[in-house]
Symmetry: C2
Subunit: 309 residues, 2 copies
């Protein structure tokens, strides 16, 4: 399925467009008859979003759009590109808030001081809040470049992926589970919400820009769920096998904080096998989608499982 | 314009519907094939939203809808009722985050311990984040009860009212201006963003559920701007004239924190006159709207200026 597909080249092309779009859109937004955002806030928002991160979620949006639409034109589709940036803004805001002293109290992220270290806690709090709002601003352009039915569907998917039955809900379970031994089902639920919901949401947002075919969407949802879970399993593995320099963040934090992880639950070897099984499940879902070309999605799934940071 | 209009009775009817809707919707949301939100998070969200607050923003949504639509049926319009709840969720989340130790460090709100006192700082942070997402979930129901073009427009208005060129931007200016003497134009800009944007947004969201007439929307925008500013002027007045028990929050905080206020800028009498001028401006805008019955909007504007808490 991925034979002959040049993932690095594809990523380079997509990432250039995504980075340019993020840089262009994370600014004082134009509000008709309104005001512009203050510089201190915009600086913190840009710091949180630009020049860092793997951009996995935007890549999933664009790969899903291309798989459904049938050619490599995602970055030329306004809805897909806006979705790609919107999911990254949600991800970025969650990191800003997650790093704050009252949460994980992390001072290092992507090799740089975290936002609250650089801009103060209040600045980080507001930057995160404004990034979440900006994600929905991006999905609802004031011109007619994205059909309103698509805008509504994208907002619906993103809100639910980010909210209390999605990412924020997963973080709340995480918060409540420090020092508690979760079983595998509970751990899976936590991660399906905390990380999986937005990864799956990214895939579905990209797909929804090009189709409303229920069978295709169901197959891509299954793909998204599998890689969402795989992502977290690999995260837990890397937390014990990689060093801080490679990760770009503090390694060993989860074990230190007595947080439940896949490694603590099923051991290192068991976790590595589980990640491989989830990759197989993701690839099987792509086969079942009936889509002719899912090479980018397949390659991204492999990348998620085989990454070193 | 307000002759014969029974505001208390109108408010009682509307508030009963809004309270019921908030209580019904601030729960573990139903996500097709997905999970429910964890109880600890939902408890903090409900604590932040229910049984408190003047519900001014929801009332503005419903009054604007009725003024445009021409009869008292707003609470029966799904889009208007969802908008009413969504703006209140944004307001509630902003209070939760604003009360946190890294911001205003307030321990009392509406006569109750603030959310971070009750649920911890991390719990308050996540509850605020989830409330913002839930606002957009409410605006994008999965059935066809709200036309998708209206959904998209409501999300667009709310995101911009809440974001970096709206409420969050105003808070950032506020944060950067402690101990600095702002002139009137700077103070007005801060409040137009911090408080005004969401009040104006509430009016426009209600109106957009029933019309896209540019002249009507422009008049209602002018009304929303005037009462938005009046609201903050009166807030500053009450901060020095009312006691904590009446306010339900700590009085005199702004002066203690050396925050710029209208009272510090134009004195108490000057501020009171300015509030009256803004009320006149709001009522004039309603006259210019050409709408036959704006009694509820007019009465709400009077209430904003003449309130004692």
């Amino acid at each position: 399925m991925t034979a002959g597909f040049d993932l690095p080249r594809w990523m380079e092309t997509q990432l250039a467009v995504v980075e340019d779009a993020l840089s262009a859109w994370v600014v004082s937004p134009a509000v008709p008859g309104g005001h512009v955002a203050p510089e201190n806030l915009v600086s913190a928002m840009r710091y949180a979003v630009l020049d860092g991160g793997k951009r996995l979620r935007p890549l999933l949006v664009l790969a899903a759009y291309e798989a459904v639409h049938g050619d490599e034109t995602a970055s030329g589709c306004v809805g897909a590109l806006r979705s790609a940036c919107a999911v990254e803004l949600i991800h970025a805001y969650s990191l800003v808030h997650d790093d704050m002293p009252c949460m994980d109290n992390d001072v290092l992220r992507r090799g740089k001081p975290t936002v609250h270290v650089q801009f103060g806690e209040a600045g980080a709090l507001l930057a995160g809040d404004a990034l979440q709002a900006l994600a929905f601003e991006l999905l609802t352009p004031l011109d007619d470049s994205v059909p309103s039915a698509v805008q509504a569907r994208l907002c619906s998917l993103l809100a639910r992926a980010a909210g209390s039955a999605g990412m924020a809900g997963g973080q709340a379970i995480d918060l409540a589970s420090v020092g508690i031994r979760l079983d595998e089902a509970q751990l899976r639920t936590m991660h399906q919400l905390k990380t999986g919901a937005l990864l799956k949401g990214s895939v579905l947002m990209g797909a929804h820009c090009a189709t409303s075919d229920a069978a295709v969407l169901a197959a891509l949802a299954a793909y998204g769920e599998a890689i969402g879970l795989a992502f977290q399993v690999v995260d837990d593995i890397l937390d014990v096998t990689a060093d801080s320099a490679t990760l770009g963040k503090t390694a060993g934090k989860d074990a230190d904080n007595d947080k439940p992880t896949y490694v603590s639950l099923m051991g290192l070897a068991g976790s590595q096998q589980y990640a491989k099984d989830l990759l197989a499940r993701a690839l099987q879902a792509l086969n079942q989608s009936g889509l002719p070309d899912t090479a980018a999605l397949a390659a991204l799934a492999s990348m998620v499982v085989n990454r070193s940071h």
